[in-house]
């Protein structure tokens, strides 16, 4: 064993292991571990890699359906989309690194998630991202927005993968802990999916891609601890991205995957060479022996500890068929990437690492994975919030000026400033650009398309985690439906505070319950995901944010619906029931100045009924203008449709609406606004009623203003308010 360093309790604590966990390490090893071994235990048992606090709850999520090819547990989820094709997707967080170093943190988040997808044999065809920042006027916010957006663009644009959608929110709870959740959707042949389980004793273990440096050491451990004042000092744990190398790695891997050379493949993400080698060998039930002197390094005198814990980007580990080595090497040479045989599979069941002729680590793989601590952490339910009656919320002087204020507010303002920095058109298949309900990307040589979206309403989850969890799932389902796609499956990115606090664990446990209910009711399983805990700074947690990424499929992209009004004199209809729910609404926060109340209830049966109806009409070719109603309520939805189409509308408050402001700004769920040619409205209404879907006439399209009950506001004025927020915030440097 190399240079023996005494493992003191301080060293154990620095590695984020508790005294009990270290006791377990000693038990497994039967001796004191070497520093390298301790480092490996530390990252493998970190919250980030082991899911030790979340595992017992995640099990409750439904993960299967006839179209699920691969559920959670691999690099990404895989679903069958027909015609022998599969969609491969996942969302992952890069929160702490992005706060410390926004450009590189966000960039490598994007790089990491794309690698997860192409490791499975899929070509990435779209990226999305869900971003949550602190208050707009917080001194760090502009710097973070600017860096994160540039970083996402810098990486994705260079890779030539369009960034087609996502979401951006602002809230004080993220002031010291922003969220950067990146999602990639890839396309593969359903019978050519690549997995990570190693097989074949004696088979060579190959390292490809970028060289290993000292960056990102202990990134996974950092992601598993709270932030404090000195988090700036953790900058060296942030990785540095090189999208060009990743582009080469992508092309080289896909070229190799087209041959029959690969036994197993795993990207080096969090915990780098450690987690990739451990996962491959544990899934295959084999041992693995690595000669660390053969690992391509970009710095001299790197220790075994550093090599194993480095999180340098753009690297892959593969097990190849021995006879395919020459062919594989030639491909990587063509792409000018390192290709190094660094070890082989063994039948010992041990991970053995050699460095400078000595054994730096020799540890059993199975217990390292299987005996990883699992905690059933104590949790308390979130206290229920009182319902807020519409009559207890003051009405505005003028509905339209309230609308203008809301459309220009941080959470509802146009995100154009953000997505114009992302190449959302490269590849030439973007059918629906950012700004709609869901992005739509056509599949090559096909009329078929994938729709994708990411959603979460953290203020709902905070007020009632179960309802909020269900709502996040339902909103993605609704957004996919609104463009005409059949929702198939989701990826979840669970961003929460410190799991050791029972109230945070309660948020986690209950939102999972809500998500599970929604997934079941909507036949909409979870196929991949990521958990990010300890999103706290100085003991203050973020709003609980279970970001959901949804993917759906449509048979004919030509029938896709968009939110934009298409023509004047069309009838504007509301589908779904409106009670005027103002609790936790944007209206309540932006106009009445309160963040309070219970969030709108989620009726999953109504969600399903209304959505299935809308999708049916779109699929039949009878509807091309549709928008789901979410943040801000009905009037915001109609205004967005008018602004997108550059056509106004003349609206009338229905007589049976109790309070006009609650009717127009309430955030009741399971609703859609549609517009159909005047002559077709009656037929659509009859069909809706027959399907049991509540339907009401809101008005008619036309003109260059939004008119409501006789008052009116020019679209140009609304547009000014809607479009100016982000440029003004970001331009005032």
């Amino acid at each position: 064993m190399s240079k023996v360093q005494k493992i003191t309790p301080e060293i154990v604590a620095e590695h984020g292991l508790s005294a009990d966990e270290y006791k377990l390490v000693l038990e497994i090893m039967g001796r004191e571990p070497s520093m390298t071994e301790l480092g490996i235990f530390s990252v493998m048992w970190s919250e980030h890699c082991s899911y030790k606090s979340s595992k017992v709850h995640l099990k409750k999520l439904p993960t299967s359906a006839p179209w699920v090819i691969q559920g959670p547990g691999e690099n990404a989820g895989v679903i069958d989309i027909g015609d022998g094709q599969a969609a491969v997707f996942k969302m992952e967080s890069h929160n702490h690194p992005s706060f410390i170093e926004p450009y590189q943190g966000a960039a490598t988040g994007v790089g990491g998630i794309m690698r997860d997808v192409f490791t499975m044999g899929a070509r990435p065809i779209a990226n999305l991202n869900a971003l949550r920042f602190g208050e707009p006027n917080d001194p760090k916010t502009r710097h973070l927005v600017s860096g994160v957006v540039a970083g996402i663009g810098g990486y994705g644009n260079c890779m030539g993968v369009p960034t087609v959608g996502g979401e951006v929110n602002f809230h004080a709870s993220y002031n010291g802990n922003i969220l950067v959740n990146a999602m990639t959707v890839g396309l593969a042949d359903a019978d050519k999916i690549f997995y990570s389980a190693a097989a074949g004793v004696g088979n060579p273990v190959i390292y490809v891609g970028a060289k290993t440096g000292r960056d990102g050491i202990h990134g996974a451990t950092m992601a598993s601890a709270e932030f404090t004042e000195d988090s700036e000092e953790k900058r060296p744990t942030v990785q540095v991205g090189d999208p060009f190398t990743e582009k080469l790695l992508l092309e080289a891997c896909l070229e190799l995957m087209a041959t029959d050379a690969i036994v197993a493949i795993q990207d080096m993400g969090a915990a780098g060479l450690t987690s990739s080698s451990v996962e491959m060998s544990s899934k295959g039930g084999l041992g693995i022996e690595l000669d660390l002197d053969k690992v391509p390094v970009r710095e001299t005198h790197m220790t075994a500890y550093e090599i194993m814990l480095s999180e340098s980007q753009e690297r892959m580990l593969m097990v190849l068929k021995p006879e395919a080595m020459d062919k594989a090497r030639a491909i990587f040479e063509k792409w000018e990437l390192d290709f190094a045989e660094i070890g082989r599979l063994t039948d010992t069941g041990h991970l053995v690492l050699k460095k400078d002729g000595e054994v730096a680590a020799d540890m059993p793989v199975a217990p390292l994975v299987e005996k990883a601590p699992v905690y059933e952490r104590p949790w308390v339910p979130t206290p229920a919030q009182a319902e807020i009656a519409a009559r207890d919320v003051p009405a505005p002087n003028d509905l339209l000026s309230a609308l203008k204020t809301m459309l220009g507010s941080a959470d509802l303002a146009s995100r154009r400033w953000v997505w114009e920095q992302y190449d959302h058109l490269v590849m030439g298949h973007t059918a629906q650009r950012p700004g709609g309900d869901a992005a739509v990307v056509r599949l090559p040589d096909s009329a078929k398309a994938l729709a994708m979206t990411s959603d979460c309403t953290p203020r709902y989850v905070f007020a009632d985690p179960k309802t909020g969890g269900a709502q996040a799932v339902a909103e993605t389902w609704r957004n996919l439906t609104a463009v005409g796609a059949r929702p198939l499956a989701i990826t979840d990115n669970m961003n929460f505070g410190n799991p050791q606090r029972p109230e945070i664990m309660g948020q986690f446990a209950l939102s999972i319950e809500g998500m599970a209910e929604a997934c079941k009711a909507l036949d909409y399983p979870v196929v991949s995901g990521n958990v990010s805990l300890y999103n706290e700074t100085n003991g203050k947690g973020i709003l609980p944010t279970p970001t959901i990424g949804g993917v759906g499929v449509m048979a004919d992209v030509a029938r896709m619906a968009t939110i934009a009004f298409k023509a004047k004199a069309e009838t504007v209809l509301l589908l779904g029931e409106t009670r005027g729910w103002l609790g936790q609404s944007i209206y309540l926060r932006e106009i009445a100045g309160r963040e309070a109340g219970a969030p709108p209830p989620v009726d999953l049966a109504a969600e399903r009924r209304n959505g299935d109806f809308v999708r049916g009409v779109i699929e039949a070719g009878a509807l091309v203008t549709c928008h789901d109603v979410s943040d801000g309520g009905l009037l915001v939805a109609v205004a967005e449709m008018a602004l997108a189409g550059g056509i106004g509308a003349n609206l009338v408050t229905p007589k049976d609406a109790a309070e006009a402001h609650a009717f127009w700004f309430g955030e009741d769920q399971a609703r859609y606004v549609i517009a159909v040619p005047g002559g077709e409205a009656a037929a659509v209404m009859t069909r809706a009623k027959a399907a049991g879907v509540p339907v009401a006439i809101l008005g008619e399209t036309g003109g260059d203003a939004l008119s409501l009950d006789g008052r009116s506001l020019k679209l140009a004025e609304l547009k000014g308010a809607h479009e100016s927020f982000l440029p003004r915030l970001m331009g005032a440097a």
């Binding site: 540039a150 999208p243 190449d423 058109l425 590849m427």
Partner: protein, 229 residues
């Protein structure tokens, strides 16, 4: 018409360009890898968008010195048609096929959106399918599209009718609000002296079918085909 697309490590719109050329010519263009020194016999070479060699140095600077570009340059001098789009424009400009330089966008940000593009001349094989003054809607997607040249070069370009496209408003009006990158005199694309080389920042290959929301880029590819046949 036979066409080829030069592919560098880091190119990323070669597939989009291939689709456009295939649509216009009915056949797949030949994809030429950057290490190839022999260029097949073709009528047109397209240098596509992307981040050649990562573009960590000045955009296009390394690609401009690649073996295949020397060959492209020699053929262009012999009269073969060359079109450089986005990174391709940067590359052929760095290689000296066109005058001037592409600087970082004036607001220092990457920009992806549809822009108005005014056709400044129909007197070339690339723009013969358009009318002078016609306004097109074509997307841009770049970080370094801010065209710059000294006043004498610019005057010469104008005098010789070598400005192919300018950024403009929906009615063809020139104004800085319509210019996505701050390029001098709102220049979006230029021709060489012999008018067989075009470089432009916007992506006509991303405006060739209804799915793209505009088909205004199509005529650029079809007119190149017609010029040859």
């Amino acid at each position: 018409m036979k066409s080829a697309i030069v592919v560098f490590p880091g190119s990323n719109r070669e597939g989009d360009a291939k689709a456009a050329l295939k649509q216009a010519t009915g056949k797949d263009p030949i994809m030429v890898w950057h290490r190839d020194t022999a260029l097949p016999k073709v009528d047109l070479v397209l240098v596509p968008g992307g981040f050649s060699y990562g573009d960590y140095l000045r955009c296009g600077a390394i690609a401009a010195n690649s073996p295949v570009l020397r060959e492209v340059k020699a053929r262009a001098e012999g009269g073969m048609a060359v079109i450089g789009i986005c990174n391709g424009f940067q590359i052929i400009t760095e290689a000296g096929l066109l005058p001037g330089v592409l600087l970082r966008n004036a607001n220092l940000k990457f920009v992806c959106r549809n822009v108005g593009l005014r056709v400044e001349t129909s007197g070339s094989r690339f723009t013969a399918g358009y009318k002078k003054g016609q306004v097109l809607s074509i997307p841009v997607a770049h970080h370094d599209g801010n065209y710059f040249a000294d006043p004498r070069t610019l005057d010469e370009l104008e005098a010789e009718d070598r400005i192919a496209f300018r950024y403009c408003g929906p009615e063809g009006r020139l104004d800085s609000v319509y210019n996505p990158n701050g390029s001098i005199r709102h220049i979006a694309g230029i021709l060489n002296k012999k008018r067989n080389v075009l470089g432009l920042m916007p992506h006509p290959e991303n405006a060739i079918e209804p799915l793209h929301g505009s088909t205004d880029g199509k005529a650029l590819f079809t007119s190149m085909v017609e010029a040859v046949s």
